[in-house]
Symmetry: C4
Subunit: 257 residues, 4 copies
Amino acid sequence: MEDVVIQWQEKVSLKEPILVEGLPGVGNVGKLAADYLKDAVKARPLATIYSKYFPPQVYVNEDGTIRLVSNDLYYARGSRGRERDLLILVGDYQGLSPEGQYELTDRVLKAAQELGVKEVYTLAGFAQGHMVDAPRVLGAASSLSRVEAMKPLGVVFSRTDPGGGLLGASGLFLGLGRLYGMESVCLMGETSGYFVDPRGAEAVLKVLSQVLQRDIDLSALEGKAREIDRIAAKFREMEGKSAPEIPQAREDLGYIG
Amino acid sequence: MEDVVIQWQEKVSLKEPILVEGLPGVGNVGKLAADYLKDAVKARPLATIYSKYFPPQVYVNEDGTIRLVSNDLYYARGSRGRERDLLILVGDYQGLSPEGQYELTDRVLKAAQELGVKEVYTLAGFAQGHMVDAPRVLGAASSLSRVEAMKPLGVVFSRTDPGGGLLGASGLFLGLGRLYGMESVCLMGETSGYFVDPRGAEAVLKVLSQVLQRDIDLSALEGKAREIDRIAAKFREMEGKSAPEIPQAREDLGYIG
Amino acid sequence: MEDVVIQWQEKVSLKEPILVEGLPGVGNVGKLAADYLKDAVKARPLATIYSKYFPPQVYVNEDGTIRLVSNDLYYARGSRGRERDLLILVGDYQGLSPEGQYELTDRVLKAAQELGVKEVYTLAGFAQGHMVDAPRVLGAASSLSRVEAMKPLGVVFSRTDPGGGLLGASGLFLGLGRLYGMESVCLMGETSGYFVDPRGAEAVLKVLSQVLQRDIDLSALEGKAREIDRIAAKFREMEGKSAPEIPQAREDLGYIG
Amino acid sequence: MEDVVIQWQEKVSLKEPILVEGLPGVGNVGKLAADYLKDAVKARPLATIYSKYFPPQVYVNEDGTIRLVSNDLYYARGSRGRERDLLILVGDYQGLSPEGQYELTDRVLKAAQELGVKEVYTLAGFAQGHMVDAPRVLGAASSLSRVEAMKPLGVVFSRTDPGGGLLGASGLFLGLGRLYGMESVCLMGETSGYFVDPRGAEAVLKVLSQVLQRDIDLSALEGKAREIDRIAAKFREMEGKSAPEIPQAREDLGYIG
């Protein structure tokens, strides 16, 4: 079989589309944000991506039918004059191996290029290793002009973070995207890294809505975020009493999805 | 060499064949069931599948001759009017790596398609992590119509199990089978997951015999099952006395062959 | 680069050549025996095999020059009428991964076929996990006629050993060799599995010299064997005093080179 | 995507160029030396090498822009009559897997050959596992004539070191380089193996400057070296007091970059 199989559900012609990527990673911030965006803008399924670089796994839906693990491209038209079309990449997994990461990212970029994409935004979490009250959005970009364009939106470009660079799809879309002549930005919502974090996703989406000049109703995410705030509060309580051991969570810290 | 090598023993033309798969996995339920079915219907060898995705291993037969590890396709003609022809996949191993799993499954599906297969049944075990008295058969299917067709046969479609989905060949045949336009069902016999389980295989075959509208004499399997019942009884005794540590067996639990 | 690169030192035409393989493995029995055979019959270098399935490693010779790790084919002419030509495969490593094992073995078999090889003997160790005084030679073969031909030479075909089959090149040459229509025998010298064992190699070569109808002077090997006997004696002494812990050596036991 | 992608920044014609390689490895001696050489001779960027055999990672520069991990070729013209042109390979990583090591080295050698390279020098560290006061430079070479040419420059060719051979790019460039008909030398600066070691890099560059007949101003490296000397002094102090446990560092010892 082909290493990466793309099944197209529809043939579309897009207007200056922007690609937004959000796959599983630290705090699942990127995945939460991209999934939410996809629903909020009522994006339509465009293509399903299967690959031998994903686990050999199917999910079972509630009705008993199955679904092979995949990444999925959705698209949304710009409804008003000033809005550009959107291409959104979501999915169950990132590639399992380094080779898989490269092959999958390259294949999606190739497809995106054919659809006219010249600009990419990747969404990710940045693990701080401690509770974060008001998560900032850290940035990294393909060019200085992109860095400068992001600063007025509140994106923080730190000299020290992330020190070890970005590992995984969110970084690779920037790095390989350059070989396709694409401009790109990675938006990283700060998160503890200890649990799935809608607060970080919210922060990322607030910036992205400005970039895309689209209103995104964040109220549903706000609900999820409050729930996690309650868990976080309990967690903090525990932290106050004793040094907690969360080895599994900490293992994730080095990884920026 | 080719990644997957298929050696055909015979050239056959089959009548609406149904593919049944059963490879090693949890409690070896799928393998036990498919091997038993193969013998019960007096299936004949059709093709041997070698691959660099299997271990570099040969088995030594009792007479001193060797056999390279393989998967094997058998076929059985429908003896009466209402029976359809069968294609049965058995074997020593599943692919060792995710890539291997995908490549092997895809290659077998391709061959099956050329033989006219439009319907696939995969047999597997579902590890409960505790002793199971009367194993149920859990199901997952490629379509709602297949789900509905299975329910009257006693197959259970649970909203929660298997929560993590199906990992390995039994799931992948469903997922990739869809790309070949095949309808498919995975039948999972409940098992403790602690040892090879003919009881689970028996449960699966009872359902399958109805699906295939073939009488399958299960008495030999019943003998094996009673033996394991005796072991299980001892095990339960132990369980009653103290919390047993069966780390190796538990490792298997996440995996559905 | 090609996955497997064969550099030919010479172009030869061989008379009904027999391929003998001996690569590193349990007790290094196969490697010791094949290396010794190569020197004893004054075999000449025929081809060097490099591969990305070997480690990225060079050895440094005593004079400071380097040598990339490789497998090597040697050949020896039959000096008298009744002797057939020999092709001997020796080397630093077996393939690192299952894929590498398959690819390397297949590539050598292809080259061997082009040289006219129809018969293969692989040399290996069989780890008993305890000291062995008079090592037997266990066998496995591609066909019953080969099994029967070996029995009069003292080769033991056990119903139980090796229970888990043969893992690695020595088994794979038999299994894949069959796809090339080659007859083959694996000769396994019993060994403790705890250290490099010339005694096992000696046992294997005694059988092989009969097979090949060549006198092989084993005196030099006998010297090495006596040395190891001294070590073994000390080891046994230790064993008598306390249960020794040799975890590293035991790890090797499952592997038949 | 291609396994190895080379992006050329410039098209150059070089005069009998010598390739110098220095990638991360033991004590980062090779990388330190090659990076320093590159700056000292004011080498210019020639090509960037991306590969799926590197980690899927981007670095974030201080200004917020990113850089995909890579290896990089630089070149420097010989400024005076007796100097030959230089090609210098530096980079963030060696290939992650054995296959990656072979593919990357082979691809660079192919490019180097097209640029006219017939001579290669690889720079590496040799881990002694204890503090080294005055690091020697150990050598290994493609031919005896290269060994003899190095001895008058103070390079030590030891009968025993490195016993296990050279693992990684520095050895592979020698081994595979031979298949391209290239003469080559590996220069290994002795180092403890416990930390990044400019002292070892200095030793290597002193030899290399004689080989290249170029004056290289080592004063900046000397500064770094003194800093590490201070750390080493403290370390030795600790060593004197108790047996220190440096498991992480020791793990590196077997690896020669």
